[in-house]
């Protein structure tokens, strides 16, 4: 009999729940029983409340057990889990788990399934088919396919990727660069991390296709320092891709050179803003740049540069492989394709939900998430990271797409959804939003640099009950100034969480109702 295959995630979220000890316990118990086992350290399926989620390859497909603790391992062997035996932790066939079964995984098609360290496994699961197609098509036609797919930047700004690529393609200047923004700093988001840890080759393939499209020979991944496991996975995958000529002097014998360098950031949220990131890559403070010129025209080292988020680039291979039309058929309105949503905070079943645009917040939080983890009533939801709005429970029927959320005074951002129960104090959260802005402001724009500190002070006065009405009006004035007078999204959007908290939760600020706005006051 050949060795049984067991999957124990090496994803850092699974590691945070003891996956390393579980893998060690399984290896130890197998040795004790004289069994020959192959343990694969896969990515996470994204069902985080079940991590560590151990899977066994059986005749009827992969079956899951979770959450497994090291102490459960002897009883799993006793229950013959290697052949899918029953056990209190048994979850049945992995693909049949409702949370996973109802998703539409395109970008995350391989995450949790393949061995992220194996290029052969990547190839066996459809990897590098998109690149093969891209080499046949050539620059202009690749850009046309991306444009026709209606893929928009998944980092938060939702700018059409095809237009960005076309701009860089049309520049005569050389060299050109492809830069991947992997500075995933928004609280409540972890999809970039999951891709890089669980399927790093898909990002490398996406960047390679982008390079062929615009005529770039070198690429950088700007990775945040908080993701050490992603760094290891990326560097290993880049090495493997080089060894097999998927990167290097002639990508797949096409005669076109492309290679990738990973650069690690140093704990600055602002470096997720594309121009600050370019400054950092050039060895400077992460101060944002004026636009124009756009990075697509004059970006890294002053040269034409495509800057895209991890998920945007990781969605490119499937578009080239299956066609623009296939991808564009998912979604609704101007939000096409799928979006990997990240459900976090006080929720029973947090995790990754990749699905076509158009799901409502209620469906995500109740059907997938199962309500709050604490069992207390849900009070607020923050959508889109620290610069996203707080919505009350009454607004959960909002559809998750770029336009619907913008219409409701919020934003979708990078797709993070953080749930709070009724113990949350929204005045405190508004204060935190200002505090975070003060901590992370690059200092270029006065409204952001100074306004955020003044914002903390004004909210402190409101919380302390000093002249609440007037201070609330002042806070709104200040937010107007920050929104209108800041160059980038940090100063420009910090007012969103602050004003949405004030609007939807005035009682937390000691106010009976929404304060009159500045215009009505004067």
């Amino acid at each position: 009999m050949s060795a049984a295959t067991i999957y124990v995630p090496g994803d850092s979220g699974a590691l945070s729940m003891g996956a390393e000890a579980v893998a060690a316990a399984i290896a130890r118990e197998a040795r004790r029983r004289g069994l020959d086992l192959r343990i694969v350290r896969n990515g996470s399926r994204g069902l985080y409340w079940l991590e560590p989620l151990v899977e066994v390859a059986t005749a009827r497909g992969r079956v899951a057990y979770g959450p497994v603790a090291a102490a459960d391992v002897p009883s799993l062997f006793a229950a013959e889990f290697l052949t899918g035996g029953d056990h209190p932790l048994a979850l049945g066939p992995t693909e049949e788990i409702d949370y996973l079964k109802r998703q539409q995984r395109l970008t995350f098609a391989r995450v949790g399934i393949v061995d992220p360290r194996s290029l052969d496994d990547y190839l066996a699961h459809g990897g590098y088919r998109g690149l093969g197609r891209a080499i046949e098509l050539g620059g202009g036609q690749i850009v046309e396919a991306i444009t026709a797919s209606n893929l928009r930047g998944r980092g938060g700004a939702a700018f059409p990727a095809g237009i960005k690529w076309k701009t860089t393609l049309d520049q005569p200047a050389t060299p050109k660069y492809v830069v991947c923004n992997a500075d995933e700093g928004d609280s409540g988001t972890f999809s970039d991390r999951m891709i890089m840890e669980g399927d790093p080759f898909v990002l490398i393939e996406g960047m390679t296709i982008a390079a062929l499209a615009v005529g770039a020979a070198s690429g950088y991944i700007y990775l945040r320092s908080e993701y050490p496991d992603a760094l290891g996975a990326l560097n290993h995958a880049i090495g493997a891709a080089r060894a097999r000529r998927y990167l290097g002097a002639s990508v797949c014998g096409s005669g076109r050179p492309f290679d990738i360098t990973v650069r690690v950031g140093a704990g600055a949220y602002i470096c997720g803003e594309e121009t600050a990131m370019l400054e950092s890559l050039e060895g400077r403070r992460g101060m944002i740049r004026f636009k124009p010129p756009l990075p697509a025209i004059a970006g890294l080292f002053g040269h034409p540069t495509v800057v895209n988020n991890v998920i945007t680039l990781a969605s490119v291979p499937v578009i080239l492989d299956r066609g623009a039309k296939f991808y564009n058929e998912y979604g609704l309105g101007r939000s096409r394709g799928t979006l990997p949503l990240q459900l976090a905070g006080n929720v029973k079943r947090p995790g990754l939900v990749e699905i076509a645009f158009g799901l409502t917040l209620r469906e995500l939080i109740e059907d997938y998430g199962g309500g709050t983890a604490s069992g207390r009533p849900l009070r607020a939801v923050q959508v889109g990271g620290p610069l996203g709005a707080y919505f009350p429970g009454a607004m959960l029927d909002l559809a998750i797409d770029y336009e619907a959320l913008a219409g409701a005074g919020g934003l979708l951002g990078h797709g993070g959804v953080v749930v709070f129960d009724d113990t949350v104090d929204l005045a405190r959260m508004a204060r935190y939003a200002m505090e975070f802005c003060a901590l992370e402001s690059c200092g270029k724009c006065t409204p952001c640099r100074i306004g955020s500190t003044r914002g903390v002070e004004v909210i402190d006065r409101i919380i302390a009950g000093r002249d609440r009405g007037a201070n609330a009006a002042l806070l709104r004035d200040l937010c107007d100034t920050m929104a209108a007078g800041s160059l980038c999204a940090l100063g420009g959007l910090t007012p969103l969480p602050v004003l949405s908290a004030l609007k939807h939760f005035p009682r937390d600020f000691g106010l009976e109702s929404e304060p009159a706005d500045a215009a009505a006051r004067s």
Binding site: G188, A266, G267, S280, P386, G416, V424, C442
Partner: protein, 159 residues
């Protein structure tokens, strides 16, 4: 106790020599110094500036901009607690207070005996298993005060 500010000049010089020809070399150099030494000695700024043909002010400006670059050596243990929204939704603020009391160290400081440095971090990407803490490079999720104390007892923090 005064913090020992001695630093390994040879190690820094080797890092600078090895990386100074990279495009945008300053960040990789500072990153490597921080990773290898645990801090970026202020006295190393002149050496770096000279090698890269930058002013000391430019190098100092970059060092002081990024939160990761420490200006003094850390304690023997480094505990980093996430303070971002998802972790706050599950009690991160109370957890910070607990850890600070338990390890007798203020947030953002090193304990007087040099045993522990406690730092805030803004998102570890472990939001689906909040609250998250990193102890000496190892991440733990779903951290309650009791779970933290257990990790300390288990020897995650070497007193």
């Amino acid at each position: 106790m005064a913090i020992d500010q001695t630093w390994d000049e040879r190690a820094v010089r080797a890092i600078v020599d090895g990386l100074k020809d990279e495009p945008g070399a300053l960040m990789p150099i500072l990153r490597r110094i921080q990773d290898d030494l645990g801090w970026v000695p202020p006295a190393s700024v002149a050496l770096i500036a000279k090698a890269l043909n930058l002013s000391r002010a430019e190098v100092h400006g970059v060092v002081s901009f990024y939160h990761d670059f420490r200006h003094a050596p850390p304690g023997r243990n480094v505990v980093r607690v996430c303070r971002a929204e998802s972790c706050q939704a599950l009690g991160a603020n109370a957890l910070v207070d607990h850890i600070s009391r338990h390890l007798r160290v203020e947030l953002g400081a090193t304990s007087a005996d040099g045993a522990v440095t406690l730092e805030a971090v803004y998102c570890l990407g472990n939001c689906a298993r909040s609250p998250a803490v990193v102890i000496n490079g190892r991440i733990i999720g779903c951290v309650t005060p009791a779970r933290f104390d257990e990790a300390v007892t288990e020897g995650w923090v070497d007193r």
